[in-house]
């Protein structure tokens, strides 16, 4: 189990993951989108870092603040999408003292279902749902927390990779139809980075 109050280092690892991949995410988005995904994500995550790096906060509170910054200061598509995911996950987890497989599943599941209230995308539509949804599923099976986290990472990576052959149905790239195949989805890629760094950050405490 991982203590909710140990959230800071996990959140900062997530921040670093996005910052280091700013250019890469921009490139991925540039191929079939408008190229700003790295920039938007980096800006939001860096504002969070700037504002909270000298504060202490729990995992759930950190997620909430990060989501709120994306939602109320960044906008774009990522504001409502990641804003909803993080804030809904945080609300589902704010009362946990300790977080294990079941608790993390509860949180991410809440994020996913919050997202599904605002977007219509399903698995297979070449969006970040293709990363998040299998990652949540990987947490459903009872396993020790560390194995679960490794499975979650694998599921997220597989989900991201599968977006490569898909045709985009939502977002900017949807207009490309067949021309959208052959490259990863930007949101699926950033979501994979987020879930991976989150898992790595938690594992440091296990």
């Amino acid at each position: 189990m991982f203590k909710n109050e140990n959230g800071k280092s996990v959140l900062l690892k997530m921040v670093k993951g996005i910052q280091e991949n700013k250019a890469y995410l921009g490139e991925v988005d540039g191929l079939i989108g408008d190229g700003d995904h790295g920039m938007n994500m980096n800006k939001g995550f860096s504002v969070f870092e700037e504002r909270f790096k000298d504060k202490e906060f729990s995992f759930a509170d950190g997620l909430y603040e990060l989501g709120n910054i994306l939602f109320s200061e960044i906008g774009g598509s990522m504001g409502p999408i990641y804003g909803t995911i993080f804030m809904d996950a945080a609300e589902a987890g704010e009362d946990f003292d300790e977080i294990g497989r079941a608790e993390l599943m509860t949180m991410l599941e809440a994020g996913l279902s919050g997202l599904q209230e605002i977007v219509e995308a399903k698995v297979g539509d070449k969006t970040l749902v293709d990363t998040l949804s299998p990652a949540v599923d990987a947490l459903r099976e009872e396993r020790d927390f560390k194995s679960s986290l490794l499975e979650m990472k694998k599921a997220a990576e597989d989900g991201r990779d599968k977006t490569k052959d898909m045709m985009a149905k939502f977002g900017r790239s949807a207009r490309l139809g067949e021309r959208s195949r052959g490259v990863l989805d930007a949101g699926a890629t950033s979501c994979c980075i987020i879930l991976t760094t989150m898992a790595d950050g938690i594992m440091e405490y296990l």
């Binding site: 921009g26 490139e27 988005d29 540039g30 191929l31 408008d34 190229g35 700003d36 790295g38 920039m39 938007n40 800006k43 939602f71 109320s72 200061e73 960044i74 906008g75 774009g76 598509s77 990522m78 504001g79 409502p80 999408i81 605002i118 977007v119 939502f170 977002g171 900017r172 949807a174 207009r175 490309l176 021309r179």
Partner: protein, 331 residues
Amino acid sequence: MQRILNNPDNIVDEMLEGFLKTHKDIVSKTDNKRVVKARKIRDNKVGVVTGGGSGHKPAFIGYVGENMCDTAAVGEICSSPTAAAFLDAFKEADQGQGVACLYGNYSGDNMNVKMAVKMAKREGITVKTVVANDDVASAPKDQLEKRRGVAGEIFMWKAGGAKAALGGTLDEVIGAAQKAIDNTRSVGIGLTPCTLPAVGHPNFQIKEGTMEVGIGHHGEPGIEVCELETAKEMAKRMVDLVAADKPFEKGDEVAVLVSGLGATPVMELYVLYDEIDQLLEKRGIVTHRSYVGNYFTSLEMMGATLTIMKLDDELKELVDLPVETMGLTQK
């Protein structure tokens, strides 16, 4: 990247400072630094709000002013404003008669507007929306709901803003704006890519000697890439695409807008417009009013868009109403 910048991450806020200082007779700040408000707003009218990503000057804040939009929510470059900014824009524009939110069909804007409308409802403000989808190149005709909003949004704001200024109810304003966009079609041709300041290099390429037909305002690829053509040929291609879609036919009265995408010399836009005008005349389409210039741009992209709106008596009256904004002043 040969650009005039400080830290690219702050460009939107810095731009707003300069914009508000320069146009202090037309617009003013609000408590939300990402919401700009018209100085002169008639009393007791329906609020008219727009918003969108930055980098399209004069859009969106350049259309805030008397008889057009009352407020605009401002996003990052090529990125929707936040739901919070849209909500504040609604609050600033609301005079108790309801608010018409007239914006373009992009997934970010759709999500943020939707959330803001919900939040506004909770605060007792009625907001109705019209989503511009004038870009014929962005989806087939049987999927109108998937099409992007591009320069046709200007006609939507003009019509909606005028209707509100003339005392229309919320439903009348929404009706006028919807009618405007339903009667409007656009298409763009891109000649060079554009570079987001924070990215530092173009995120797509247009090969020298070719052009991207149907390009979007963020460089979204269009219908086809073909060899660079003369102004006459480009005009024909654009008129053929746009006129067939509505369709615009003999005897129709129209408003025409030719906008540069940012870096094309305005001189060339007039050359293009002259060709377009000749083609419309040949088709028996009557131009009531035309606009040529940089009305809706994509940073420093080269190329142009053509927008045509079919007019009836109501739309004609609305288009002709005087207006004073940074992007469009009409006596």
